[in-house]
Symmetry: C2
Subunit: 748 residues, 2 copies
Amino acid sequence: QSFKRFTLCLSLYAQIGLNITQICLAKECSEDEVSEIDSHIWVHGVYLHLPPASLTSRVLNTLKPEKDVDGISDLNMGRLVRGDLSKGFVPPIANAVLDLLEKHGEFLRMDKPCPYFYICSCTYVAAVLLRVVTAWKTQSCFSVFISDIEISRAQTPKPVDQLAAEIGVLPEELEAYGRSKAKVQLSLLDRLHTQPDGKYVLVAGITPTPLGEGKSTVTIGLVQALSAHLKLNSFACLRQPSQGPTFGVKGGAAGGGYAQVIPMEEFNLHLTGDIHAITAANNLVAAAIDARMLHEATQSDKALFNRLVPSVNGVRRFSPIQISRLNRLGINKTDPASLTPQEVSTFVRLDLDPSKITWQRVVDTNDRFLRKITVGQASTEKGMIRETGFDIAVASEIMAILALADSLEDMKNRLARMVVGTSRSGQPITAEDLGVSGALAVLMKDAIKPTMMQTLEGTPVFVHAGPFANIAHGNSSVLADKLALKLVGRNGFVVTEAGFGADIGMEKFFNIKCRASGLRPNVVVLVATVRALKMHGGGPNVSAGAPLPREYIDENLSLVAGGCRSNLRKQIQIAHLFGVPVVVAPTIEVKLFNLLSVAFINLYCIFSKSNFLDSVPLTGALMCFHLSVSPSFPQMPIVEKIRTIAQKVYGADDIELSPEAEAKIDYYNQQGYGSLPICMAKTHLSLSHMPDKKGAPTGFTLPIRDVRASIGAGFIFPLMSTMPGLPTRPCFYDIDLDPVTEEITGLF
Amino acid sequence: QSFKRFTLCLSLYAQIGLNITQICLAKECSEDEVSEIDSHIWVHGVYLHLPPASLTSRVLNTLKPEKDVDGISDLNMGRLVRGDLSKGFVPPIANAVLDLLEKHGEFLRMDKPCPYFYICSCTYVAAVLLRVVTAWKTQSCFSVFISDIEISRAQTPKPVDQLAAEIGVLPEELEAYGRSKAKVQLSLLDRLHTQPDGKYVLVAGITPTPLGEGKSTVTIGLVQALSAHLKLNSFACLRQPSQGPTFGVKGGAAGGGYAQVIPMEEFNLHLTGDIHAITAANNLVAAAIDARMLHEATQSDKALFNRLVPSVNGVRRFSPIQISRLNRLGINKTDPASLTPQEVSTFVRLDLDPSKITWQRVVDTNDRFLRKITVGQASTEKGMIRETGFDIAVASEIMAILALADSLEDMKNRLARMVVGTSRSGQPITAEDLGVSGALAVLMKDAIKPTMMQTLEGTPVFVHAGPFANIAHGNSSVLADKLALKLVGRNGFVVTEAGFGADIGMEKFFNIKCRASGLRPNVVVLVATVRALKMHGGGPNVSAGAPLPREYIDENLSLVAGGCRSNLRKQIQIAHLFGVPVVVAPTIEVKLFNLLSVAFINLYCIFSKSNFLDSVPLTGALMCFHLSVSPSFPQMPIVEKIRTIAQKVYGADDIELSPEAEAKIDYYNQQGYGSLPICMAKTHLSLSHMPDKKGAPTGFTLPIRDVRASIGAGFIFPLMSTMPGLPTRPCFYDIDLDPVTEEITGLF
């Protein structure tokens, strides 16, 4: 007999080595196939959906589960969703779904002994069942997948103050924003400063396709497995997504399937306003730059001085920000009246060179028409027009600073040091020179506190900072990691992620983030999708919005093997450069269910166990790794640092500097910035600078066309285009709000 | 004997007719002067600060208070700050200060029976005393005034959930944002729909000076008086301030002195992110406009159609937003395949005329260089450059919509109706045509819930929406007023405020806000500062940042009288046009203490009691007023509506339309917008269109140079400059953050 449809649910938690978080299959197949899949070593349970007519006695005899040990249901459902839950939290939806199910006999489950499975997430099961029931009730096609937002909405997050109490955050250290998210105060670091840190896990990926590889999903699945199933304290640290892609091409970024941060709408919309604060701060600097140039162009030294140091009740005083500038200028005076006319002029005139302003405005929208603009065209600006542009908000240097600061004071100092341009005499001009650095710290005073949310299963998550992975370092915040490492304690785990491929995100994690934080990871988890492996193995190009070529839909084991031998191998070698053990987490896309053949699973087994990968089953492995990483970067000249990354990490033969790049490097050396780390703004779509070169290219020279610097954030980088555009039919076409139920539709 | 220094504290609550909220005087004067002030009918208490050496037995005998009836202190302090407090909330600072005071004998108080005074705010007294003690301890000049932020910080707000419980908001209707602010859900309106509304009070002002007249301060002082002192339920509804002025010229806007919303930093910074949400929504529309023009210019009808109505699993479907557009176009089809090529073309081509796009981008920063810009100059935009500009965020039509919407559904419909420009064939193009209206509603889903905060004394306050008072209607939100009117109940009071002078803010309150809400106020409170009265009485120009001319520092009773007879009289007459009783609330600036002569007080008495003002002592008056207002505006043609406002409200002889204005009015009539109310974008600095014409000018013709429309918000308006600039030394120079204590310095 052939079952028309079955649902195969595989638990991520059983074996992270085969990451199938999102698997919820609907496939026509024979009893033998079900049997074969069910008997595989990594398959710990299979759900079957059978039309009532299929429920013959033979089927029932074959599939009838053992008697339920908890005595709740003879369908063996009860203990999955009503048993002992690690967080003491039973989502109402699970019971509602089960009640529905108990009225209908056609849902059966085969299972076999596997301790992980029995404590499997109620959410996970409930959401799967919800979809089954919904499809059944509406008579829609069974193979309609549940959207991420439906799964997210099927779970009610526990109150954030309850979550805080569970993990040891004191009520006075918590600032709730609504019921499901809260900021955690930095004072917690002081209170727990004697507590040993937990284990530190970095999730990185191989060179991705433009569709993304699911690093956040693995990160969340991993903490769910560690927390709810292995009963270990754990914490995920994620980046906050930009709203640009949410309403543009990509959609949301809260993980996916049954490994999500919830509520995912909150995660993807304003959250607690950190990106808005960055936008406000960034654009205050921009307004200050242009206004200052106008005022300097239209006022005498004396008029400028009298306005900048106004007489209040007959007394002129320098503000602390102005005293700092005077000190930098070598004018060690505090009485405004004592400055010579020359000193007054030096003090009041930043004398910014309009052609050397590097500060751009930002907006958190994919607004391509702002990439290059001319400002100052109103008559009130007296002809002081200039060309400039907007970046996406997360590309602001202030975002990179938020991610790297390790205290309020450190953030404030970095904000003050930001270089916005150069004076006509070649001196760098900082935010402090503009008088704006204190106001920036005020605008960012709440943003510096990490935002706490939770996974579908109630594991704590910090969402904090999301710097670009090209012109910045693409990692979530130092402070969130530090807070989480204290909160989980010595035996706990903090899983954090790095953007783009490991050649970029992981390399910057070590050379920039670890340098700032002083932390070192215990292990790197390398995410590799079947799709990306095939691409590196010679598959055709993949692009967002276009149908996936046939090679990606069929099995094509040789393409997968090719990807493993080229890009995956190289990315693992890069991690080994930093002396860290690597665990590979292969993933498969939810919609490509027919790839999940036994041969496929076996191929993964071979690669994850072969000699060139030192992979081990992850959850077991983590506990035995110890600190073996030294993130220190050699104190070499800027050019040598760039060359080292190009050769050792990317596999280039050498680098080639343009004259402009050479001049910039000379200038940065002169200004004393030579010791800063390098933040390569390379494409993430290839190990080389050429997006089309997949696999592990060799024999190329990396051309450095320009070099820039984020002095406040503390790194040197070349620049790429930083403002995405909107497609013809952006995501927003489908996004809507039901004014009565207040439900959001079409979002992701 | 002459006392070297004394502090005179006058209670706002004793007599709102003399609004002296901020009065905390330090003045050298004789015993006779003290005596004279003390004996005035409106002076209910005097605090004296005496150096220890002055405490001779004669002084003690003169000033020794009656024995304290509560027996707490022989200095008669205890019952002021430790007595029965209406909110059951004793701020810790009050006790701390009193403990300090009790150790030092030099603070004495003369008082006389006055019931209001005895229940005077503990905060008010405590903050005054705090300043005295601080000045005394640091030996600094006694006449240093406490800054608004010091007063704000001296009070610990009660937890917002406690406030909610006190006023009857259920826990499930509250969404806390930190500990001192929360959003209130709109479902409360349904729950309380049978509850009768409270009394509705509008605070407006006379034509202001550029320094502001303190309407918010009066609003807050009034609810403090009603709530804490007359034991009546009351609620203040305020506008959320823009961050532009906060970091530019004006500083914060949370009230002032002892009548503030606290914490004032929160009020003036990001609050709960509503303005950021508006910025995000506004700029998504802008990005959609330019991206759409680019896509239409570079794609065939078929390519556009295939992308706008993509094939998902082989099926093309219109989204609900697209069905709406088809209906507007008269194409009543739902199957994408059934459209004729002509219909496809009509559907996919908005055909926006680049020269007729009225939608601007916004930023919540005073960034003058964005007033007029050219966008699209990067090569990726293929030469589609055009001139446009940014407005300050609160000038966005979306802000006006937030303020006028009376439900989520109403907001969503208004967002969909917003006209962003005109097609080449002259058709208005809406946000819904761009496919973006659902996404806008999603971005605004939290912003529509009013934010609750509290006054220094714990009275509840809604802070919600802050539309510009020129191109928009300058009033806080309809929803906040409605929620508050239900919460206070039949015998309670809701005090709301209108921006600018009454000729603008109040006129729009009646003709635009009341039309949208269906509400009618019971009374208008008209705020008039001594400064503004003098200006209208013939005083010289006043400008922000410049020293105040002598006329404003000296007594100059004749100038005050002139202002009362001209501008104040006219503004009262305007209120009478709407059939509402008026209470005048004269105010005096805290730093002009020496204006508080007995003659001055008497002058106020005369004006506030003379025949042409129907003022009555406010707190007594409010209870006896009943609904007498009809806000309906005659259904007349656009031109007649403009003429009526110009003649009846401003006192113009007539209006003069430019040809452009005439053409626009014809177009709006054609499009069916003729029934919309008018929102005059006139200067707020004069009753006329000429800022320098003070008093009550007559004999002028109002020139209407252009007319525009906010179709979503629902009004027609002419446009003025909407992007403020930064001065040479913006406020941000003084704004700083102590990274250790996390205290903000220099803010306000």
